[in-house]
Symmetry: C2
Subunit: 226 residues, 2 copies
DNA sequence: AAAAATATTTAGGCTTATCTAAAAAATTAT
DNA sequence: ATAATTTTTTAGATAAGCCTAAATATTTTT
């Protein structure tokens, strides 16, 4: 019996919250009807564990589940997931803006902080940070009501030769990937020009900071531009 | 398998941390050899659960346990407990100083935040807050090495008639008690003069903010003065 | 020094969140 | 349309952390 029981009647465990968040992110990419296997892959767990958990979450009416048909979040489920995403991203801003973390160090700590139960905490944090609209990786932060604007963006890999874009986000917040970007001076707001595209492996030679570098398809598939 | 495994090889669960912290606080009052029952009472759990857990913690060498003899923290256990206390109190300062929480609102949230695993987080928080020495309830905050100075203090209930003291701490951080203090304008740094003492029930009539009020023995037993 | 009372431990269960292996359903290939 | 493959579910186990009830040890009272 934990302390946050005084705040909520409807409460989710750390594990349930992680399932909701993962399903939310998967729906954002693939639409409704998220498969057991895709959830298992995202959470690095087994399909059988997922089946167990989605039954439980269906009971709690945060998602709809029909055997062999995958799941979809309900309004309630999406609300809950959005709150977790809001918390995750606000904490990331806090860590970078106030505590001298770099953008590659925040994700894992935010994974823990997003589960802290206190409505006042997160709303006051929002105030304290000046109601930021974006997290350090360019992802939008939902407001108190769960609303946020979807920003226009496309993958760098889809940019044509000789065209220019501005880096506005990343598709992978892992420390490894972000450190690679740092090493190559790629950061949010940076202008990137595609000089040439290798059709064989999809690698790009780009101009950034008036320096030419070649990046693999895997890299350009994880950078968003505008 | 949680994310913090990347930071530590030696890691404690939320529950283990709460046991360590409770035993640490009990040792501060009663010295070595903390009984199973006293731990159970502090953690609002059953003695049989405590026996299970202290066996596990003894295995991990954070405490010494001999059947029927109670437990004592080892150096390692005390170090771990001190870190948790440090985190708890630093978060309390953060909530009050930066997020507009009042001193009666912080404890329950800090109970959650104290379990966040990230050495960088807590040390940067310390920097950000300006290395505070006291939490909002007048309790000392251990530094990075676990050192803190014990401040001179006594219970208000031990102050003689006509003598004056300054409120420097509380023995109970519950919201209920702190709200009572707020209602009666009793806060840290406040001058308190004992006007009279009722020998029958130990209640005190005190002068605070040039107002006379009468408080029960239970209240004066939870206020520290200097 | 017994007897009574209290404290502690042990035994056996329960829940949550996992897992592996096997069964069943759905999809894809022939 | 059948067979092969893949996906999903079910069945049964495990570990952590808790519980109740019973057994045992310690302490207090008589
Ligand atoms: Mn993140
Ligand atoms: Mn992010
Ligand atoms: Mn506290
Ligand atoms: Mn405190």
């Amino acid at each position: 019996m934990y302390l946050w029981h005084q705040y909520y009647n409807y409460m989710f465990s750390l594990s349930e919250e992680n399932y909701l968040k993962s399903i939310y992110h998967l729906e954002a990419i693939h639409g409704k009807g998220i498969s057991t296997n895709s959830i298992a892959k995202k959470l690095e767990t087994k399909a059988s564990s997922v089946t167990d958990m989605i039954k439980k979450l269906a009971e709690k009416e945060v998602l709809v589940y029909k055997k062999y048909q995958g799941v979809s979040l309900t309004i309630l489920g999406r609300k809950e997931a959005t709150t977790i995403v809001r918390k995750h991203r606000l904490w990331e801003v806090f860590l970078v803006d106030k505590l001298n973390f770099s953008w590659d160090e925040v994700h894992d700590v935010a994974e823990q902080l997003e589960h802290i139960k206190s409505p006042k905490l997160i709303d006051e944090l929002d105030v304290f940070l000046g109601f930021p609209k974006m997290d350090p990786h360019g992802d939008p932060i939902p407001d108190k009501e769960g609303n946020f604007q979807k920003i226009e963006k496309r993958l760098l890999s889809t940019l044509e030769e000789h065209k220019t874009g501005i880096c506005v986000g990343v598709n992978d917040s892992s420390s490894d990937f972000l450190k690679y970007l740092d090493k190559n001076n790629i950061s949010l707001g940076q202008k990137i020009k595609v000089l040439s595209k290798e059709s064989f492996d999809g690698s790009l030679t780009i101009l950034i900071h008036s320096k030419e570098i070649t990046i693999s398809k895997k890299i350009s598939n994880n950078i968003y531009i505008q």
